[in-house]
């Protein structure tokens, strides 16, 4: 898809970025001590910290990934919203106060409070680094996706831009500037998502989303022996065909331009329906609906084929209430686009064909996660595994956990978590409206589900589009900054200072942290470019699974089982990381990323949580029981 940059959008974007950089310079003086750098001095107000939590948490995955997934798969995308929010319950009721009570700069401090073990310092620091990197990948991918429509630049430019700005933010001001960037961005994201949702309700739903929405053509066809032998349009000639598991597709030629069509047979009639295609030729050419990209023949899509309000078919609804919006979707039929890839004389054809889907199916689980039609035991297990990982992953994410050290007390930690739940919960409810709004307003780019939210904003005008994109970009900046602070803390504080026992001065610790931040930032840039095109919410789901498997069993058992010892914690972290990563690397979805058939993956599970989390718990219990009790006198430290 071709994106043209608007000068207004570029202007707003530049103002945002300059504002963020100014904020970082302003707070740089606060970051000269290690407490200032890693914990923003520990005196952030709980209300500010709560919204900053929302800023940290509502990352690219939430705004770009979830909205996109809902726009393409309906309610299944909303399951991520539910799981992400539910995870905060673990943070509030179990983790928030003890973590604040026992820790100083990193969650390793809290985990090791009762044990004073070098092993825990090492394993927890490695876990923080791995989880941070897993979480960084989708943020960088999201950054690249955003810059393309906003500035008209290639994906990799966005990734490098984010990486460079964030390295500057973190290397200058650490947690203080990260907190205020997150506070502003979290607040703005919620306000403008509310405005966007109101725009959706005021606009309502129209059968033809806009005047310039492409009219998809149909041509009557004659089918003999399951082959199209003739068509009722003299302008086109049949030039080829392909039959695969998804259906029968026909290549038609008109004035030298080849397009692909989907054969539909119903009630004894047969006709061809226009599809979208990207054909990569064996000689390196790339054609969009038969023409070069610049011809702009590759359309944005998403429309309602049968619009029903209160049982009556209409062409448009007019303004609707939020509940009416949902019931209208439920009663109507929406055209989604299903992807199929096949080879045609050595050319690789990626084709998206129209799939009219009843609203009832869109408004309940099943389109993405196979829990109903076509489900198997493994597909259901995969779904359960994802929901478990989302639930337990939140309170094990290093960049979320370090935010408990920026407030002054355990009570403030609790209150800021409640502010976070309120603001994040409200935003997640909006994701359902924004995703369904994008699904029905003809704005979807079938090549990138991540762009649904920003493109929906563009539908309502360049001003809201520019602001939403700038906020979403700041979202990525803030989250990446938080992750890099967490990773640099793990290197400088946990590894160098505590594990290796190198006595750095306070300033030395800050310097080591900044160097680590630059290294992690550069690594994140490379990974962001490598993973282009993968849905960011899916990638974040995997980061949650690794975090939940590596960190959460250790945190929970340290708090609630007195027999837990240092060796048990270290072993559970190692087993959690290895088992989660192994399952992910050998899963069907990752095999698709490798370019291999999903069916050839040795482990038929995409989400590792249901195996790796219990395995990590069991390891902790077994190793703790097999080794000596904890003898470190931690109670005297309280």
């Amino acid at each position: 898809m071709i994106y043209n940059a608007s000068p207004f959008a570029v202007g707003i974007f530049v103002v945002f970025v300059l504002g963020v950089l100014w904020l970082s310079s302003y707070f740089a003086k606060k970051a000269s001590t290690s407490e200032g750098y890693y914990a923003a001095g520990g005196d952030i107000h709980w209300g500010v910290n709560g919204i900053a939590f929302a800023g940290d948490y509502l990352s690219a995955a939430s705004f770009l990934g979830i909205c996109g997934m809902i726009a393409f798969s309906g309610y299944d995308g909303f399951l991520y919203s539910i799981g992400y929010l539910a995870g905060w319950v673990v943070a509030l009721f179990i983790v928030a106060e003890p973590l604040k009570r026992y820790g100083k700069y990193t969650f390793t401090d809290a985990l090791n409070f009762k044990y004073n073990s070098r092993g825990i310092h090492l394993t927890a620091a490695i876990s923080t680094l791995i989880v941070s990197l897993c979480y960084l990948i989708p943020q960088m991918v999201g950054a690249g996706s955003l810059v393309t429509p906003l500035l008209g630049m290639p994906h990799y430019v966005g990734v490098i831009l984010v990486g460079t700005i964030v390295i500057f933010i973190v290397a200058t001001a650490g947690m203080a500037s990260t907190t205020y960037v997150q506070f502003l961005k979290g607040g703005l994201l919620i306000v403008f998502s509310t405005i966007l949702s109101i725009c959706i309700f005021v606009h309502g739903i129209k059968q033809k989303p806009s005047e310039d929405y492409h009219d998809f053509q149909t041509i009557n066809a004659t089918v003999i022996n399951e082959e199209v032998t003739a068509i009722e349009n003299a302008e086109y000639q049949i030039a080829g065909a392909n039959t695969n598991a998804k259906g029968h597709f026909v290549k038609l030629n008109k004035a030298g331009i080849n397009t692909w069509w989907h054969l539909i047979e119903e009630d004894g009639n047969a006709y061809l329906e226009e599809a979208l295609t990207v054909v990569k030729g064996k000689n390196g050419t790339e054609l969009y609906n038969g023409e070069p990209k610049e011809a702009e023949k590759f359309y944005q899509v998403g429309h309602v084929s049968k619009l029903v309000v209160d049982g009556e078919e209409v062409t448009e609804t007019g303004s609707v209430s939020p509940f009416k919006f949902l019931t209208t979707i439920e009663e109507s039929t929406i055209v989604r686009f299903t992807k199929v890839i096949f080879m045609d004389n050595g050319d690789k054809v990626s084709l998206w064909y129209q799939t009219p889907t009843p609203g009832q199916d869109i408004m309940r689980p099943g389109l993405r996660f196979k829990v109903d039609k076509g489900s198997t035991f493994m597909s259901k297990l995969d779904f359960v595994s994802l929901m478990i990982a989302l639930f337990f992953g939140t309170s094990a994410l290093p960049h979320i956990l370090i935010r408990y050290y920026t407030v002054s007390s355990a009570k403030a930690a609790r209150k800021s978590t409640i502010v976070a739940i309120t603001s994040i919960g409200f935003f997640y409810i909006l994701t359902l409206f924004m995703g369904l709004g994008a699904m029905t307003t003809g704005v979807l780019d079938v090549q990138s589900s991540n762009m649904a939210g920003p493109l929906l904003a563009k539908f309502f005008g360049v001003a809201i589009f520019s602001i939403i994109c700038a906020i979403a970009f700041a979202t990525v900046l803030g989250t990446v900054a938080g992750l890099i602070v967490a990773a640099s803390g793990a290197v400088a504080h946990d590894l160098i200072s505590n594990y290796m026992g190198i006595n750095l001065t306070d300033k030395g610790q800050v310097k080591a942290g900044k160097i680590a931040a630059v290294v992690v930032g550069v690594l994140a840039i490379f990974l962001g470019i490598a993973f282009k095109g993968v849905n960011v919410s899916f990638l974040v789901g995997l980061a949650f699974a690794v975090a939940a498997s590596a960190n959460l069993p250790a945190i929970i058992m340290m708090l609630f089982w007195k027999r837990t010892n240092a060796k048990g914690i270290s072993a559970s972290i190692v087993v959690g990381i290895i088992s989660a990563l192994t399952i992910i690397l050998l899963s069907p979805k990752t095999f698709e990323v490798y370019g291999l058939p999903a069916a050839s993956a040795p482990i038929p599970l995409n989400n590792p949580g249901i195996i790796s989390i219990p395995l990590s718990f069991i390891t902790l219990v077994v190793v703790s029981l097999m080794t000596k009790k904890n003898e470190y006198d931690w109670e005297s430290k309280v």
């Binding site: 520990g42 929010l85 539910a86 673990v90 409070f113 509940f323 439920e330 829990v371 505590n498």
Partner: protein, 94 residues
């Protein structure tokens, strides 16, 4: 090598109460969450049942889980704050 907390504060006598209360609320939420997953897996068609104001069970249960986290959080904070004031003030009055 050990580290104290980032900031210091007085002894909190409400810790045991807060931990126990938090654990109970956590268990209640887990049960409701497990119920959601269970229906999705065991009886996915039930999720399409219209239950309230024209909305199906999937929407109502999903919104409900988000709202429940908020409501339980408010109750938890209110009762914990009350207990902290009660126990920690009594100590300083002695």
């Amino acid at each position: 090598m050990g580290h104290g907390p980032a900031t210091s504060w007085g002894e909190d006598k409400a810790i045991a109460y807060k931990t126990k209360f938090g654990l109970w609320l956590f268990i209640v939420y887990v049960l409701v969450y497990v119920g959601f997953i269970w229906i999705n897996v065991a009886s996915p068609k039930t999720m399409a049942t219209i239950v309230f104001a024209g909305q199906n069970l999937a929407v109502v249960y999903g919104f409900g889980l988000i709202a429940l986290a908020f409501v339980m959080g408010i109750i938890y904070d209110y009762l914990c704050s009350q207990k902290e004031d009660e126990l920690n003030v009594e100590e300083s009055d002695k």
